[in-house]
C-alpha cells in the first residue's frame, strides 16, 4: 500500500523505512493443542512514518493481536513485523513504542504524576526531569491541577487521559492504541479525538489506532484498514483523502459520509447482516 495515495506527504515517502511493516503475518494461538486458534492469516500492510492508521473489524478478528505483534509481546507464527526497519523487540527496548489500552491500566498506588512518569522512572530518568516531563503531558491532556490525585479520584475519561499522557511522556515515535476511547461516553470520546489529533500533529507520531467506530476511524485517519474475521485478514485498505486539520465540518461532507458507507459495507459483508 505504498503506491501513490492522495494526501500522502512527501517527507514521509522519502523516509528509509516504513514506521511499521507487516509482511505475510500469520499467527496461531495454542499451536498443536486442541484449542488452536488461527488469529491472523497472511496480513500485509505498511504504515508510513507520521501516518495515522485505524483498524476496524469485528471482535476477535485479531486487532489486539496485531498490536501485540508490533510491540513484540508476541512473535508471529509466520511472516515478519518490523518497526522503523528493526524488529519489534529492538524497537521496544529503544523506547520507540508507546501503548494505550482500552482500560487506563493505572497503578492504583501511585498518583497522577507518578503514573505519568512511571515509564521514565523505569528508564532511570532522574526525578526532577521526570516530573517536569510528566507535568508537561499532564497539562497537554488537560489535567493540570490533578497531579497529586489518586486514580480512583478521577473519572473514567480523566483516567484514560492519564494513560495517554503516560504513553506520550515516554516519547515514543509509534503509538499503539487499542480501543482507547471504547469505555468513554460519546461526548468525552469526541473531545478526546480532537485532542488526540492535536497531539499527533504537534508531536509528529505514527499512530496505529484500533476502534469499533467507523466515524471515529474516518475522522482521525489517513488510512483505514478493515479486517475480516476467522482467520483475521485484511479486507480493505482505504485512504481517507479528507483535508487536515480535521474539523467538525468534515463530518458533514459528502466524502466523509461516503467513506463511512464503504467501510460499513465492508464490515457488514464480513459479519453477514444486511
Amino acid at each position: 500500500m505504498t503506491d501513490a495515495r492522495p494526501g500522502a506527504d512527501g517527507a514521509a515517502q522519502t523516509a528509509a523505512h516504513p514506521a511499521i511493516r507487516f509482511q505475510n503475518i500469520g499467527l496461531v494461538y495454542g499451536r498443536g493443542t486442541a484449542n488452536e486458534v488461527e488469529a491472523l492469516k497472511d496480513v500485509s500492510f505498511d504504515v508510513r512514518p507520521q501516518e495515522f492508521v485505524s483498524i476496524l473489524g469485528p471482535s476477535g478478528c485479531g486487532k489486539s493481536t496485531l498490536l501485540r505483534l508490533v510491540a513484540g509481546f508476541l512473535n508471529p507464527t509466520s511472516g515478519s513485523v518490523s518497526v522503523g526497519g528493526v524488529d519489534p523487540e529492538n524497537a521496544r527496548t529503544n523506547g520507540l513504542l508507546g501503548v494505550v489500552f482500552q482500560s487506563p491500566v493505572l497503578l492504583q498506588w501511585r498518583n497522577v504524576i507518578e503514573n505519568v512518569g512511571f515509564l521514565l522512572e523505569l528508564q532511570g530518568v532522574p526525578r526532577r526531569k521526570r516530573q517536569e516531563t510528566a507535568r508537561h503531558y499532564i497539562d497537554l491532556v488537560g489535567l493540570g491541577g490533578f497531579e497529586r490525585h489518586m486514580p480512583h479520584q478521577l473519572s473514567g475519561g480523566m483516567q484514560q487521559r492519564v494513560s495517554i499522557a503516560r504513553a506520550l511522556a515516554f516519547g515514543p515515535s509509534v503509538l499503539l492504541m487499542d480501543e482507547p476511547f471504547g469505555a468513554l461516553d460519546a461526548l468525552t470520546r469526541d473531545r478526546m479525538a480532537f485532542d488526540l489529533l492535536d497531539i499527533w500533529k504537534r508531536d509528529k507520531k505514527t499512530v496505529l489506532f484500533v476502534t469499533h467506530s467507523v466515524q471515529e476511524a474516518v475522522f482521525l485517519s489517513d488510512v483505514v484498514i478493515v479486517m475480516t474475521a476467522r482467520p483475521g485478514k485484511v479486507g480493505l485498505i482505504r485512504p481517507i483523502d479528507l483535508g487536515r486539520p480535521r474539523t467538525k465540518d468534515h463530518r458533514l461532507q459528502m466524502e466523509f459520509v461516503e467513506h463511512c458507507r464503504v467501510l460499513l459495507d465492508e464490515l457488514e459483508a464480513d459479519v453477514g447482516y444486511h
Binding site: 509481546f73 527496548t93 523506547g95 501503548v99 489500552f101 482500560s103 491500566v105 515509564l119 523505569l122
Partner: protein, 263 residues
C-alpha cells in the same frame, strides 16, 4: 484538620454510641440476671465477680497474658514469613506450586489439636510447640491471599513495564508486589484471628502458663470465674492485636476496600 471539630466529635459519638451502649446494657443485664435469680457462681459468675477474680490474680494475670501474647506474636511472625516466602515461590515457579500446594492443603486439613500432643512429645511443654501450632494456623490464609494478590496484577500493567525492560524482578517490584499489598493485609487479618485460637488451643495440651492454661485450670479446679477471666482477656487481646493489624493496613496499604479475598 476537621477531625477535631465539635461537630465531627458529635458525629463520631453518634456513630459509636449504639454498639457501646448495647454492650453496656448486655453487661448490666447479665449482672442483674445473676443477682436476681441467685445463679450459682459455678454455673455463671457475674461480671463483677469475674472482674474481681481477675484483680485477685494480680501480676499472675499479666504473666499469663504476656505468655500468650508472646506465643501469638512469634507464631504469627514465623507463620507469615513462611507464607510470604511460599507465595513468592508459588507465583514465580509453577513447579513450586505443584510441590508446595499439596503440603499447604495437608497443613490445613491436619487437625491442629491432634498434632499438638505430638509437638509436646517432641519439643516439651515450653513455648516452642505453641509457636509451631500458631504458625501452622497462621500461614495458610496469608499464603493463599498473597498468591492471589501477586496474580491479581493487571497483565497490561506488566506489558507496560516490558516496554522498558524485560526484567522479571522489576515487574515484581513495580507491579506484582504492590498489587498484592491489599490482599496481604486481608490475609494478615484472618491470620491474626486464627493465631489467637491457635495459641490458646496449643496451651490446652500442655502448659504451665498462658491464658489457655488459665482457662483449662479454671475448668479443672471448678473455678468458672477464672475461665471467664481467661476468655475475657483473650477476647480483649484478640481485638487489640486485630486492631493493630488494621492500623498497620491503614498506614501502609494503598487500598482498604473492594478486594475479594480467600479465607
Amino acid at each position: 484538620m476537621p477531625v477535631f471539630s465539635i461537630r465531627s466529635i458529635g458525629r463520631k459519638a453518634l456513630y459509636y454510641a449504639p454498639p457501646v451502649l448495647s454492650f453496656v446494657a448486655f453487661i448490666i443485664a447479665w449482672q442483674l440476671y445473676v443477682d436476681l435469680f441467685g445463679v450459682s457462681a459455678f454455673i455463671l459468675p457475674s461480671p463483677e465477680r469475674i472482674v474481681r477474680a481477675g484483680i485477685n490474680l494480680g501480676p499472675a494475670l499479666w504473666g499469663h497474658t504476656w505468655t500468650t501474647t508472646y506465643e501469638i506474636l512469634l507464631g504469627f511472625l514465623v507463620g507469615n514469613a513462611v507464607a510470604v516466602g511460599l507465595a513468592y515461590l508459588i507465583v514465580r515457579w509453577s513447579v513450586a506450586e505443584r510441590i508446595v500446594y499439596p503440603f499447604l492443603i495437608v497443613s490445613q486439613t491436619v487437625p491442629k489439636l491432634a498434632v499438638a500432643p505430638l509437638l509436646v512429645i517432641w519439643f516439651g511443654t515450653g513455648i516452642l510447640p505453641k509457636v509451631i501450632v500458631t504458625a501452622l494456623v497462621c500461614f495458610f490464609p496469608t499464603a493463599v491471599n498473597v498468591v492471589q494478590g501477586l496474580r491479581s496484577a493487571d497483565p497490561n500493567a506488566i506489558d507496560l513495564v516490558r516496554l522498558v525492560t524485560p526484567s522479571t524482578s522489576v515487574i515484581f517490584r513495580k507491579v506484582q508486589f504492590p498489587s498484592s499489598i491489599p490482599y496481604f493485609f486481608a490475609g494478615l487479618k484472618i491470620s491474626m484471628a486464627a493465631a489467637v485460637i491457635g495459641a490458646i488451643v496449643a496451651e490446652w495440651v500442655g502448659a504451665n502458663s498462658g491464658l489457655g492454661y488459665l482457662i483449662l485450670y479454671g475448668g479443672t479446679s471448678m473455678r468458672t470465674d477464672l475461665m471467664f477471666v481467661g476468655v475475657g482477656v483473650t477476647v480483649i487481646l484478640g481485638m487489640v492485636l486485630y486492631g493493630a493489624v488494621g492500623l498497620a493496613e491503614y498506614l501502609i496499604s494503598w487500598r482498604r476496600t473492594d478486594v475479594r479475598t480467600n479465607t
